[in-house]
Amino acid sequence: MSTIKLRYDIPANDFVTAGEASSNVKKKLTQIGVSSDKIKKAAISMYEAEINAVIHGNGGYADVEISSDKVIINIIDYGPGIPDVELAMKAGYSTASDNIREMGFGAGMGLPNIKKYADKLEIFTEVGKGTKIVLTVYFS
C-alpha cells in the first residue's frame, strides 16, 4: 500500500506561517477524497500541535504520512519539553506568556483539543531537549 510522506518546517515564533502546514495537509486529504469530518479532525489537531511548536517549542518540523486508511502526523520541536504531561493535558492550563495570550493564543486548549480531535495521541518529551507529538486520525 502506498503512503505519501510530507515534511514541513515549522519556524519558531512565526505566527504568519503557523498553520500553513495543516492547511496544506487539508488540501491533500481533500484531493484524496477523505470525508470532510475526518479531514476536519486531522486539520484541527495538526493545527493545534503546530501552534504549540511555534509558541512553546522554538519551532521544529512536521512529518506527515498519509495512507489510504489513516494519516499519522509527527510534530517535532526542540523546545523546553513538558515537565508534567498530565498537567499540560488539563483544559485551561497554559504556560504561554502574556504577549502570546494577547494575540489570542495560549488559552490552555492546545493539547486537550488535540486529544479531542485525534483518534490517537502519543507524547514523547524530555525536559531541555524537546517534544515529539504523534497523532493519528483514521479514515474509516
Binding site: I4, L6, K28, Q31, I32, I66
Partner: protein
C-alpha cells in the same frame, strides 16, 4: 434543465489566450487551450472575478435582454438594492423606481423590501438553539457554490432561507395576481442584477427546481435606458417603500448589521471569503453566530455587472439610506418565515477529488507531488494552467502533459540536442581511422 448552466461565458473572438483570468480564478476553473480560455464548468462558481480582470473584455455574462419583458402581458421588476448606487446623487430612489416604469415595467417591487423580511426570518432562526453555528448567509450565490465545491463540511451551516430576490418575486407575483386578477403565467418578473451569479441562480437554482424570477437583466445593460428615462421622469407614484435596513443589503456588512447580535462577521471579496471559511472549517470562529460572506469586494455594489465605481456607489447608497426610514418587521408570524425555508438541501460537488477510488487517488497524489517537485515553480501560467501545482494536477488527471511546461520542453530539447551532438561525434569502429591502438 442542464446540470451546469453558467452565466459567465467566453467571447472567443475577443479572447487572446493571455493568462490574466486563470490566475485570478478562486477555484482554478480556467485553462488556456489553443489560445483561448476554457471554463471548467464543474468548478466555476460564477463569481465574475474573470470578468473584472480580463483586459480584452472577453469574459462576459449571459443575461436576458430588456426585449424579453415583451413576452409577458404584465411586466414586474424587482430591482436589486445595488441599483440605487449607480446614478448621480441628485436622483432619489423614487426617481429611479419611476424611471423603471418609464422604460416598460408595469409594477415595481423593491428587493430591499424582501431583504427586510429575510432579515427578520434570520433573526428568528438565530434564536433557535439547535441551529448550526456560525450560520453562513446564502444571499450570495457564488458563496453557496464555493461551499458546494470546496467546503463540504460547511454545507450544514448555510442559512437555508430564500434569497431576497426570490422572496420579492414571489410576493410581487402574488400581489399582481390578486390585485389585478391577472393569470400567473401572464406575469413576468424581472430581476435587475449586479452580477452573473444571480443569473445562474435563476436559470439553474441549487436549492429548488424553479425560480419565481422569469428573467434577469444586468444593471450594465439597462443603465443607459434608465439614465435617459431619469431625465424625464415623472415622480408621481410613491414606489420607494423599503426601509434603510433593506437598502443596506447592497453594502458589505449590511445584511449582518440588521441582526440583533454583535457576534457577526462580515467578509467580502471571494479570496477573503475562502480564508474565513478555512477558519470556520477548523472550528476557530466558534464565538461567531452569523457570517455574511459576499463574493465581491464592497458587497453587491461591487458586482461585476455594475457601472459605478464601488467606492462612489457606496457614498451614493449612503445618501439613499439616510433618506430612508427605519421600517420594523418585528411581528412577523412564525408561519410566514417558515415558508421561506428551503425544502431541499445543497449538494456537495467534490470537484477537487483526484479519483473516486481512494487508493487510486493516493497514487495520483503521489505522482502529482513528484511531478510538482520537478516543475520550475515559477507559476508563470504559460502552460495554460494557473500555477505549477495546477499543471501537475492536470497531468495526473490526464488533461495535460509535462512538456506543456515551456521550461520542461526546453530542457527536453536541450537534452536531445546534446545527445545528437554526442551521437554525431561517434563513429562505427570499422570506419574510425582516428583511433590509435
Amino acid at each position: 434543465m442542464k446540470e451546469y448552466f453558467h452565466s459567465v461565458n467566453l467571447d472567443k473572438d475577443k479572447c487572446r489566450g493571455c493568462t490574466n483570468c486563470i490566475k485570478r480564478c478562486p477555484t482554478e476553473a480556467i485553462r488556456v487551450r489553443k489560445s483561448k480560455a476554457q471554463i471548467i464548468n464543474e468548478r466555476c462558481i460564477d463569481c465574475g472575478e474573470c470578468i473584472r480582470v480580463c483586459p480584452h473584455h472577453a469574459k462576459t455574462a449571459i443575461s436576458d435582454s430588456l426585449d424579453m419583458i415583451n413576452e409577458f402581458k404584465y411586466k414586474v421588476v424587482v430591482p436589486a438594492p445595488s441599483l440605487y448606487g449607480q446614478f448621480d446623487k441628485k436622483y432619489s430612489r423614487n426617481n429611479i423606481l419611476n424611471a423603471l416604469r418609464l422604460i416598460g415595467f408595469d409594477y415595481v417591487y423593491e428587493v430591499a423590501r424582501a431583504a427586510e423580511i429575510v432579515s427578520e426570518a434570520t433573526r428568528q432562526l438565530l434564536k433557535n438553539p439547535n441551529i448550526k453555528k456560525p450560520m453562513i448567509s446564502a444571499a450570495c450565490p457564488s458563496v453557496v457554490r464555493l461551499i458546494q465545491v470546496r467546503f463540504p463540511s460547511l454545507i450544514e451551516n448555510i442559512v437555508k432561507l430564500e434569497s431576497p430576490m426570490e422572496v420579492a418575486a414571489k410576493i410581487a407575483k402574488n400581489e399582481v395576481h390578486e390585485k389585478y386578477k391577472i393569470a400567473m403565467e401572464d406575469i413576468g418578473v424581472f430581476f435587475i442584477s449586479p452580477c452573473a451569479a444571480k443569473v445562474t441562480s435563476v436559470k439553474s437554482p441549487y436549492e429548488k427546481q424553479k425560480s419565481y424570477v422569469d428573467g434577469v437583466i444586468s444593471i450594465k445593460d439597462i443603465y443607459i435606458k434608465l439614465l435617459s428615462a431619469l431625465s424625464k421622469v415623472d415622480d408621481s407614484s410613491k414606489l420607494a417603500l423599503a426601509g434603510l435596513e433593506g437598502i443596506d443589503w447592497a453594502n458589505a456588512g449590511g445584511e449582518s448589521g440588521a441582526l440583533e447580535t454583535y457576534n457577526v462577521l462580515a467578509v467580502d471579496g471571494i479570496h477573503n471569503v475562502i480564508k474565513i471559511f478555512d477558519e470556520i472549517e477548523e472550528d476557530r470562529l466558534s464565538d461567531i453566530d452569523f457570517v455574511e460572506a459576499l463574493s465581491c469586494s464592497g458587497g453587491c455594489l461591487g458586482g461585476p455587472l455594475t457601472i459605478a465605481n464601488v467606492f462612489i456607489a457606496k457614498t451614493t447608497l449612503k445618501k439613499h439610506i439616510n433618506a430612508a426610514s427605519k421600517r420594523d418587521i418585528k411581528n412577523m408570524d412564525k408561519k410566514s418565515y417558515e415558508e421561506l425555508v428551503w425544502t431541499s438541501n445543497v449538494e456537495y460537488k467534490p470537484v477537487m477529488k483526484l479519483d473516486q477510488d481512494v487508493s487510486k487517488a493516493m497514487e495520483k497524489l503521489e505522482k502529482l507531488e513528484k511531478i510538482y517537485a520537478d516543475l520550475p515553480g515559477l507559476d508563470c501560467g504559460a502552460c495554460g494552467a494557473p500555477n505549477c501545482r495546477a499543471l501537475a494536477e492536470d497531468i495526473v488527471r490526464e488533461i495535460a502533459n509535462e512538456t506543456d511546461c515551456i521550461f520542461k520542453l526546453r530542457q527536453r530539447i536541450r537534452d536531445l540536442a546534446e545527445e545528437m551532438v554526442d551521437l554525431g561525434g561517434k563513429m562505427p569502429p570499422v570506419m574510425d581511422k582516428d583511433t590509435t591502438e
